[in-house]
Symmetry: C2
Subunit: 134 residues, 2 copies
């Protein structure tokens, strides 16, 4: 615990810190997305890098990406620091571009439906106002 080189933590702590469930952390590891050393007793020991990655993965998954989508970025080290600061990546971009296409399609579709929905809402907000319990 008082090791200075790296802040080492076990799965419970990491889960709490990142908001990623133990289950998911194990799954991410199983999928090769994060790495954990093993203590003598078999317990996983995570370092800061794992924590950063876990958080980044969490964000991307939450945004609707799959682990396979994320993997290339990760393999290029793009997820080794908080997502807010862009690092240097290159090849991951290629697959990123691929995903981007689909992404744009999806966004476009959703936005289109959104528009229509908003249209409806605008047209009938009086009707809604009368009930307004939601």
């Amino acid at each position: 615990m008082t090791i200075l080189e790296f802040t080492t933590m076990r799965i419970g702590e990491l889960a709490e810190r990142t908001g990623v469930s133990r289950r998911s952390l194990r799954y991410y590891e199983q999928e090769g997305m994060i790495t954990a050393r093993r203590a003598a007793n078999g317990y996983r020991e995570y370092d800061e890098l794992a924590a950063v990655r876990a958080a980044n993965i969490r964000d991307l998954v939450h945004a609707g990406l799959t682990l396979d989508d994320i993997r290339p970025s990760l393999e290029m080290g793009c997820l080794d620091e908080p997502l807010t600061e862009a690092s240097a990546c290159a090849e991951a971009i290629r697959s990123g571009l691929h995903r981007l296409e689909k992404l744009d399609h999806q966004i476009a579709s959703l936005s289109e439906y959104r528009e229509r929905l908003v249209d409806y809402i605008g047209r009938h907000q009086e009707a809604l106002a009368e009930q307004d319990d939601g």
Copy 2:
């Protein structure tokens, strides 16, 4: 077949016309999203309304909505004519709004990742240009 009142068709034809698989058409029906009369032999018989609905559902599902998301709109008759022309709906809107929230979150998240991705790409397009096989 030469009935004039409604163009009646069977599942195969509808599937071909809408691009929705037979399997999905049955599933939609099972989920109460579309209706089919039954011929004496048990075959499903679809009318034009079913065709329109099927196409609309197809679009929305393709856009990332679930059948449960779509159901309210459908129940209000919002999907009874081609989606391009907005009809009069009201209560469906309420659940529409609910879905809309999630939708916006998702779109926002995706867009954010998109931005970062585009950033990366911009920064490293030279590297990509050198390989340019994609």
